[in-house]
Symmetry: C2
Subunit: 529 residues, 2 copies
């Protein structure tokens, strides 16, 4: 017969090897920790973990290293789900060390498992390592709105047989209303009779639909923090944001929930999450893939794109979706620009420069006026003005009629958008047209190389102004492809502070497939497959 | 800088506390274990785990205790998913003990975490405890066909606000085809314009639809082993079957994926999974809840029912679904029958007898001919004959036109069903009508008390004939409610060998609500809330 826990947990059975006793005070310490956890008593919880940089805590979301990191996670979580301990299995190691497993019965159903390595330090039992398994969920609502096995089958067999698609919730999906990341918008929607053309192309090539994945609200953000549904997890950087606005498809692909993320990229919404999560991502040439059935954000810049874990899947997806007859080759020049690199954080800039130096291609730094700091600032300003004007044209009436329907970040962006006059928009359009001519003259059929984002993925609990600063720096870098309608491929080429950052290759319009086909040789040697 | 692993895993970074070295041979042993895991080298894997009953291995599915149990699990699994180790974090305890965590990068995406307690035994490093987190899945296809957040919203607010429904895939769900657990049947189906009446009643009371959950094929089994989609997990008994045919809804509720399982019970399909998974389950009075929009199995016996984790939810669900004006009260007699108890395994029978003895109600053992062994055998034979005849009438044409579409167990049941002549069915119907009269005379408005199932949940890897023997014994017990159209409530009252078994209360027709309302006092004292 198992022993029993003491005190408030008198009914918890404690299992030990035959003839072995638990070290004095251990079971009591474990039960006290559990009680503090249920009370979200952060001070007691912190002191239950051993201080220092070597303490570990892991779960399905990743491994946290160091007590400070663990405490920060716990503080941000807002309490653990309520649960009871069904049984403790204690494995004493010596007088001052023991391992134990607790089978938990969460109030919300299922069974969980917690294992802990305990050490007696200065007379007190402390956890030096912990591993937590919560019961698996039916669905991760941060990533998905609806998911199926499959949600929709392929319509024909083809080169994408066996592939599964996570569809950003700005695409029409047959039988479902469109949600755009906004609960009130979803509530008013009616099921679509026909899927978006770009989705039908994937189904016709053999892919099935895994589900409808989350998006930043109206796709008008690059962070992935959806006020209604939460932020999809970033498995490449535990505790960091996903990037957006194609946040759900990106996390779904990174987590292995789907092999193809179908998204859109207006100002970076494919490239940013690809960069933050170590994925391959292609923003296609403006107009090269039909946006039929896609909710607009800013039609002058909106493009369809894809996120994958590997180059071959991206190529097969692109081949299934693009008109190969309209595609072009790449020139033999690779160029970059100091003003683009200087937008990036010092760590990203250094990693990018090191990448260029190690690469076996010659990359010319363009000092053309079209890529000067002044020119890029102008492009960015004109781009965001015109984007906002078009976003308001697309959604202003709905937004105005639904006060409170949006999160603060997106709402304030729309509020600003509502102030753009037609004259200001016309001026921005003219400025962008001039910039496009100048950029086209400078770039020609060259491939422009730059970091995909200004930084690694910011922390989930980063302040709004930190997110905004990163956004501004990144959008300055992404605006070149946006303004010129050029395709942009992000490859997971850099690692900065242990986190992925993409290298972005912007090709000539129609050079989508050529970019994807050539890119394996552009990866750093150590990352090639 | 971290150290590096040796040999084939030379590129794996090994993290240790500052100034601490890994015990000799430990990292090599961990990497050798990983190599054996990737090769599914069962002999090496078994020997890497310490022998004896105290070795532990846990994951999201539960905790396995003892090396033999672990080896059996591993042998049944057919290999671990392919993965690479991204990093090892080693925490030496002493020369002969160490804990380590491995961050894994599965080939299918996401990140996983493995932690292990190692001990040097007779010179060789062995794992004495392991904890594994695989990356969370988009959907558990054993439990669900499609799932949403929500899949369908409530239609009105009401007493079921906040509740979520797992719908067995034999109910019409608006916008979706019906699958019946059979891929070919699903492929041919068209989306329903309207949900089943019993589902609409729950949505009108405030519940949302979480998703469409798995079922035994055409609901013609009580095991839960679906040849096409697998067996839903049973969180109450790791490594055991779910019970069926309402298998998906039962596991969904037990795992906390939904709060209400909407199922059907023809011969026990609510009561069996409730018993196996420690849930509350109600098979309603035949005809009391509309089967409009429900795929028939055997309409003379088909009933709608529900599975919940607690009594209060079951009551609210029943109130929302039943016509209270047609409900009746219970008499004051509680009865049981030796011939029913003797169908159960010795362990279940003993636990049930002990329950009756400890209960504060007087339960009379009926020795009426209607509940004799001979009579029960006759009821069971007639029941299964008529069930089969009706099942063939409902699905025979489809089954005959789709050879190979069903799993072997259900296919052989339909094959036998195809041999039942109308004359045999008529004889069975007459026999059942006589039995029903006799049983009604014996039972009146009494509550018949019996174990809900003949055994605890059998193991996932139980042989087909073991499953079949349990099925026969259980169906003999469930047939009384089936034959009389009486409601039957299963409450999670017994524990046998650590696994749940239900106590079943069969009331007079129309006594559904009275059963549910009274049942809290019928629970063993220790299990009351």
């Amino acid at each position: 017969m198992p022993q029993r826990g003491g005190g408030a947990n008198a009914s918890v059975p404690v299992h030990l090897p035959e003839g072995v006793a638990a070290p004095a005070g251990l079971v009591e310490a474990a039960l006290a920790y559990e009680a503090a956890l249920m009370a979200d008593d952060l001070a007691t919880l912190e002191s239950a973990f051993a201080p220092g940089p070597d303490t570990l805590r892991g779960d399905e979301g990743g491994l946290l290293v160091g007590r400070d990191v663990i405490s920060r996670f716990r503080g941000a979580r807002g309490g653990a789900p309520k649960r009871a301990i069904e049984a403790l299995h204690v494995r004493p190691i010596d007088d001052d060390h023991a391992w134990l497993a607790a089978v938990t019965a969460p109030a919300a159903g299922g069974r969980g498992l917690v294992s802990q390595l305990w050490e007696r330090q200065h007379g007190a039992w402390r956890i030096t390592a912990a591993h937590v398994s919560a019961p698996p969920r039916a669905i991760d609502p941060r990533v998905w709105r609806v998911v199926g096995d499959p949600l929709l089958p392929p319509t024909e067999a083809g080169p994408l047989d066996g592939h599964t698609v996570a569809v950003k919730d700005v695409f029409a999906v047959e039988g479902f209303a469109l949600g755009a990341g906004v609960p009130a918008y979803l509530d008013e929607g009616a099921p679509h009779a026909r899927s978006a053309a770009s989705l039908r192309a994937l189904q016709a090539a053999g892919a099935s639909v895994r589900g409808i994945a989350r998006t930043d609200q109206f796709a008008y953000s690059i962070a992935g923090r959806n006020a209604a549904y939460g932020t999809p997890p970033n498995p490449a950087v535990p505790g960091a944001i996903s990037g957006g606005s194609s946040s759900g498809p990106a996390s779904a692909v990174a987590m292995g929930h789907a092999s193809i993320g179908l998204g859109t990229d207006t100002a970076g919404s494919i490239r940013i999450p690809a960069s933050y999560q170590g994925l391959w991502g292609l923003r296609t040439t403006h107009g090269a893939v039909s946006t039929d059935g896609v909710l607009p954000l800013a039609p002058s810049f909106d493009t369809v794109g894809w996120l994958t874990r590997d180059r071959a899947t991206l190529e097969a997806t692109a081949v299934a979706s693009l008109d190969e007859a309209a595609q072009v080759g790449l020139g033999d020049r690779f160029v970059t620009a100091r003003a683009l690199i200087s937008s990036a954080s010092p760590g990203v800039a250094a990693a990018f420069v090191a990448y260029l130096e190690a690469w076996d291609r010659e990359v010319t730094a363009i000092d053309d006026d079209s890529l000067s700091d002044v020119a890029l600032d102008g492009v960015q300003t004109a781009f965001r003005t015109m984007q906002a004007f078009e976003a308001w044209a697309a959604h202003g009436a709905w937004v105005a009629a639904h006060p409170g329907a949006l999160g603060a970040d997106v709402a304030s962006r729309f509020e600003w958008a509502s102030t753009i006059t037609p004259a200001a928009a016309a001026a921005a359009r003219a400025a962008l047209e001039r910039a496009r001519c100048a950029l086209d003259a400078a770039l020609g059929d060259a491939v422009l190389v730059l970091p995909s984002a200004a930084s690694v993925a910011p922390a989930l609990d980063a302040a709004g102004d930190e997110i905004e600063a990163v956004r501004a720096a990144t959008l300055r870098m992404t605006a070149v492809a946006g303004a010129t309608g050029r395709p942009a491929l992000s490859v997971p080429g850099l690692t900065v502070d242990g986190a992925p950052v993409g290298v972005c290759f912007v090709g000539p319009r129609g050079g989508d497939l050529a970019l994807v086909r050539a890119a394996d040789e552009w990866m750093p040697r150590a990352k090639r497959h």
